[in-house]
Amino acid sequence: MNKLFPLRILPILAPAAFILACMTVLLPLAAGSVDLTYLYTFRTSFLGILLEALPFVLLGSLLSSLVHLYVSEQLLKKWIPKNPAAGILTACILGLLFPVCECGMIPLIRRLIQKGMPVYIATVFILSGPIINPVVFGATYMAFRLYPEMVYARMGLAFFVAASIGVMIYVTWKTDPLKMASASGATAQDHPAHHSHSNQGKKKWTSIFVHTADEFFDMGKYLLLGCMLTAGIQSFVAKESLESIGSGPVSAYVFMMGFAFLLSLCSTSDAFVAQTFLHSFSSGSLLAFLVFGPMLDFKNTLMLLSVFKTKFVIYLAFLICTVVFTGAVAVDAFFLSQ
């Protein structure tokens, strides 16, 4: 196989060489006319977003492999409340214990579902974790220090959205939402027993490495795509041209939610960006931005797609869009604009 490898790529190599030759000739000519600053802006944005997310994806992969090896199904069953209402409420405040952003959360969640965590609880955790945690509370408070009601509105709405979507998933979604459901189900069955009974410490160490690396590469490709798209939007699309879309009362909500989706900011820093819109957008639409962004954005949708079936992701996205929109309008009407 290895010997054949160079021969196989030969057909691709020829056009690649051609393109390379063309580029070496044309690039110096083009460089004069094309503004290279765009490339540098893209590069700085792309690497910045990637470097910021990398430690957390690594941490998430590590946590996921630790859960895989050390938390048995039985143990998890004991931890998760039997009562769905209690389960949902617990999942809502679980973020207080795990202040990880969504990049780190998704690999962990996949593993927990494989271990038998109910889907609705996992969903609630994915949605509430990135918002209802002390780090995000602090950051939002800093950004909206003159509007503390915004901080409480954000936490409250996030709690409400996560809990109500949890209930909806509990009622409506009965099948396994994970990709490769049969395979993962089977391994989850026979695995923990095997691991918990093997006392070979060295093997366990190696397996932590194996799983972490697998998880990292699995998530990494979606993260990289997400970073590239986000950086592209940030460095090539002007904010004003986006802003002009959302001038009406309803379109402001749609715009702010779409903007949150495209920017894919980390939940610890998005409040600051939202704050800069205070003078041009209603507080309800800013609230929608603050709650919607951490729950659903470019980067995490791609990561969700790597874990869940497309159908489930679309369903979840639909729920998030509608519940956040309704909730933000309601909070704006009854709480913020008094």
């Binding site: 540098y40 690497l47 430690p55 003159l146 391994t187 194996v210 205070l278």
Partner: protein, 302 residues
């Protein structure tokens, strides 16, 4: 047994990619260019992440050379499936940031990014609503701004320190009437809006960074040049000294600087501005000590 070499070539690729990331991060950290990409709060996380990256890489490399197909007796790995082309594309995706990062020189965000993100005049820690009616509310940050304003008022010229840049600008903006005519010295990059800025005016800008470049946020102070001053180059770094005035821009009153001394400076080692409440406290402490504990009551009686 047939699949073994394929699997191992995957492990080798992965090992090299992980090592590449580790080296890239370590090098960024060592050269200090890390600050072009993320805020200081992220440094420890990134430095720490080098350790697992290297460990994973070494482990993969070890298994490529000495291990069996499954070094651990474990059936739960996601099987490496898919076509060669798909794998090539995925590895290319991983190699791209490493190549992009190591082949091209590191550059901080500049005018191009500022134009796309939308330059904001004045300090980003204040917004119009806050200035219009709410700033008299008993809020500890406004108290801090007032405190800052008092200490700034006695300085001549007022030195805008990079560590608390946005706070100083915010404080002056909040009490701009009192600060009219005071001398100020500040530095930043030149931002000229091609269609909008007249020839004798530009914005002296900075980026405020919270987490990483994704939330980098451009803000600045309009600078009015003297009539016969040669035009300034976009993206150049300048130190400007002059008198504070107020101008109407974008339908609101903002502080501006009538430049008297304009000097080109090299790009500072720390081009971005971070929010740092500790630095503010420290600055207030030092300023109090240097002014001998006397509290001039000029700043806050608006």
């Amino acid at each position: 047994m047939n699949e073994e070499p394929v699997f191992q070539s995957h492990e080798l690729f992965r090992s090299l990619i992980l090592l590449g990331f580790a080296i890239y991060i370590a090098r960024l950290s060592a050269t200090g260019y890390l600050q072009y990409y993320v805020a200081p709060e992220m440094y420890p996380w990134l430095r720490l992440s080098v350790i697992p990256l290297v460990m994973l890489s070494v482990n993969l490399a070890y298994r490529t050379m000495f291990g069996t197909k499954h070094g651990v007796d474990c059936h739960c790995e996601h099987p490496v499936t898919g076509s060669k082309l798909k794998h090539a594309a995925i590895y290319a995706l991983f190699i791209l940031p490493i190549l992009l990062g190591s082949l091209l020189p590191d550059q901080a965000l500049g005018v191009t990014a500022a134009a796309k993100k939308g330059m904001i005049l004045g300090s980003p820690v204040l917004t119009r609503e806050q200035l219009d009616g709410k700033f008299k509310a008993p809020d500890k940050y406004n108290v801090e701004f007032a405190e800052l304003a008092k200490l700034l008022y006695v300085q001549d010229p007022i030195e805008v320190k990079p560590e608390i840049y946005s706070e100083i600008v915010g404080s002056i903006q909040l009490f701009k009437e009192e600060f009219k005519g005071k001398r100020i010295r500040l530095s930043g990059f030149v931002y000229r809006d091609a269609g909008v800025s007249p020839d004798d005016e530009f914005v002296l800008g900075r980026f405020l960074v919270q987490c990483c470049t994704a939330d980098a946020y451009p803000f600045g102070v309009p600078v009015l040049l003297q009539a016969n001053h040669p035009a300034v180059r976009n993206d150049a770094w300048l130190e400007v000294e002059g008198n504070l005035v107020t101008v109407i821009r974008e339908d609101r009153e903002v502080m501006a600087v009538e430049a008297e001394l304009v000097t080109e400076i090299p790009r500072p080692d720390t081009p971005y501005i971070y929010l740092n409440s500790k630095a503010v406290e420290q600055w207030i402490q030092e300023a109090r000590e240097s002014s001998g504990g006397i509290k001039p009551g000029a700043g806050d009686d608006s």
